[in-house]
Assembly symmetry: C2
Homo-oligomer: 431 residues x 2
């Protein structure tokens, strides 16, 4: 189904260009290391800027480092925006985010070629985006660029955020020439494609997931406060061991996942810092994250209730103080039904087996869906492996994803005046 | 019992000088921060060098940064060495180690004054020591200076050790002019006084602990190996969560301590590092310490057996690999019975209630006892609080400790030719 449509499109070209991008920050085991606003992220952004500019896109960067490629087809019309993120976890697969950006670039380029050839009749303009800092591993929170773009996070607050070495987002972005000014970009609709990061498609044999909603989530930071003492000489009964308290919560978080049978519950503690973290001093303080996710908010609420009970018991029995702070909370969010319908129609026309599904992880599209009609697509992930250098997707599936995204972008760009994008979103100044 | 013996000794002078030392690296909550070979450690060493030199001691530093004050009374005779360590944990009490160094300096100074006045007839020379890096929080292993001095650790290996920032012991010592050459010091016997770091003396009302031996210990480093995955989207059954495995071991270590009723068992995990330690990536690897201590080696062996069983179960049930590496192991070590007798005789003569006890923690005296007759004394610790800025001992108890240590040093310095120090220890070149 991949044919030359005047854009110079070929599956081989896509795979070749994506392989080239994957050499930037490549790790020995086939992944990439391109944390937000590092040198390697800067190099990936330079690569994308070059790709877009040489194909006629006007490249622009906003005040929080979101990188855009704009292609005007209909002066004054809103834009169909498509993209994802080029930044990565410290050691990550090469597809997470980057696939969606390059797929969007190819999709936009192909639709533009169709417009030039007269086979596509645009009513909207086209834009590609590389959202800044989706991963959040270096600077919190994750999905930073799209959060600022959609007005959910203050730009100055984001720019002041520091990494563990004390470097601000502002300085890190300036170090890669990654901070620009306001980009005049009224967005009518948004489309994103991403690897599934699960194994549902692999198991059902479908080639495309049409995402209809996001699991509900409750994200906590917790702090366990004990007291320093000597790891050898202090009597066990006198110890107030913050690491013991934290470990009991880690174990409880896991057993919560097994406790609720009504709906899947995913729980995780993955970042944990011990103070003073000495081989001879019982820990006085532990800080950690704790995430709970489920398609069913009622399951989440019951799990949180149980978690608070266990925290109170740990406090009472172990002489500790446990602080649980809810940092992020969202209930099940739905994507625009009209966009789901567009995606399903495109898959049907291309003969691609597709299924509706939910996303467990948040994406930049989660932010965008709050302001404009948004289409979200998945391609299969081998064994569901994610945030891991072994993450992979079959080349055929990658190419099929580009075809489907191209179809969706084409539909959105040619939508009549009464299309899904009745209320374009213009970001507040992020300069 | 504190009278002027010609040395200018007074309890007030001791407390005044100790308070002055405690201003170096003082923390807001009354403790100190003088990690080995930091600027503050250098300042404390400079203070001690000045104190000793102005009272006639020849100050010398060996190749691993042990700081000595030598006072020759009997040319060619072996030395009675007394001391402890001035370095501290990152946030620690002001007494741990430093009390023993200053007490030894005062004790040696008082005994020397007695010799000058003719009331003490020395058969040995006198030396005071500040052992380098007893704590081991910045550079491992702990008790580094005394380990090199007693030939248990290679000097070059110790000098090559790096701190978490990659600085070597060699460079850190050179940065505070803390590295010298061979010190000609045949040691006949050793004496040390330290805070108890437990609450046995407080509970019995005794004022001095005469240490007869050290608890047995097994120290491990463990590594749990899992696999990176997505904290949100990866199915729970597919996760191989290294932090969960480590937490199960932390909880097990604690429950081991409750399981053995025959003899006390102290267990601790206090230093734990998670990789990649990201809020969105399930941990692939956790490294931690794990210590087991008991007066009864049979209890330790049973506990280690149980620990290995649990580690194997964690591996099997959680899809993880657990590596347990034994890094330090010692069975119960006894101090020289003749030195125990000397200490008890001194306490009896001074009318100080004393009791025999074991030390749970290792001390520099643990190393010294392996090469020369060694006396080890404890003063009470308020509530047993240790490795904590709230560590404290009543001033009266501190002064009593100096009196008892002075008596013990006097006994050792005046021992007849057939005294406990029949085989002086001369350190290998540490230059
Ligand atoms: Zn992503
Ligand atoms: Zn100490």
């Amino acid at each position: 189904m991949s044919h030359d449509d005047g854009s110079g499109w070929s599956a081989a070209a896509f795979l070749r260009d994506f392989a080239q991008l994957s050499t930037i920050g490549a790790t020995p085991r086939g992944g990439v290391d391109r944390e937000a606003a590092t040198v390697r992220d800067g190099m990936a952004r330079a690569w994308l800027g070059g790709w877009l500019a040489s194909r006629g896109f006007a490249v622009a960067v906003d005040g929080i480092g979101n990188q855009f490629g704009l292609l005007d087809l209909v002066p004054g019309a809103p834009y169909v925006l498509a993209g994802s993120h080029l930044d990565s976890q410290p050691t990550a697969g090469r597809l997470d985010g980057a696939y969606g950006v390059v797929a969007a670039a190819f999709a936009a380029h192909r639709v533009a070629a169709g417009a030039r050839a007269g086979t596509v009749r645009p009513t909207r303009n086209l834009a590609v985006v590389n959202w800044f800092n989706e991963e959040g591993s270096r600077f919190g929170p994750s999905m930073m660029g799209s959060a600022v773009f959609t007005g959910r996070l203050d730009a100055d607050e984001a720019l002041r955020t520091t990494d563990p070495a004390g470097v601000t987002v502002r300085d890190a972005l300036d170090g890669i020439d990654g901070r620009g000014g306001p980009v005049p970009l009224p967005v009518g609709s948004y489309a994103e494609i991403h690897i599934e990061q699960g194994r549902e498609l692999e198991e059902t044999g479908d080639r495309i997931g049409v995402v209809t909603g996001t699991w509900a989530a409750r994200k906590f930071r917790f702090r366990v406060l004990g007291e320093q003492s000597h790891t050898g000489s202090t009597r066990m009964a006198d110890r107030r061991d913050a690491l013991l308290g934290a470990s009991l919560l880690v174990v409880e978080a896991r057993s919560l996942a097994d406790r609720f049978a009504e709906a899947p519950l995913h729980t995780a503690v993955s970042q944990l810092d011990v103070r003073p973290n000495s081989p001879v001093v019982v820990a006085a303080e532990v800080r950690a994250n704790l995430d709970l996710r489920s398609p069913d908010p009622a399951v989440l609420d019951a799990a949180v209730h149980r978690l608070r009970d266990v925290a109170a018991r740990v406090e009472a029995e172990r002489g500790l103080r446990v602080e649980l702070e809810l940092t992020h909370s969202w209930d099940r969010d739905d994507y625009t039904p009209e966009c789901v319908a567009v995606s399903e129609r495109v898959c049907a026309e291309l003969g691609v087996p597709a299924r509706r599904m939910l996303t467990v992880a948040g994406h930049d599209s989660t932010n965008m869906a709050k302001v404009v009609p948004t289409a979200m697509l998945f391609v299969p992930s081998r064994e569901g492996i994610s945030h891991n250098e072994r993450e992979d997707t079959a080349p055929d599936d990658l190419v099929t994803g580009v075809d489907v995204l191209t179809g969706v972008v084409r539909e959105l760009v040619t939508a009549p005046g009464s299309g899904p994008d009745r209320q374009p979103w213009t970001p507040a100044s992020t300069g």
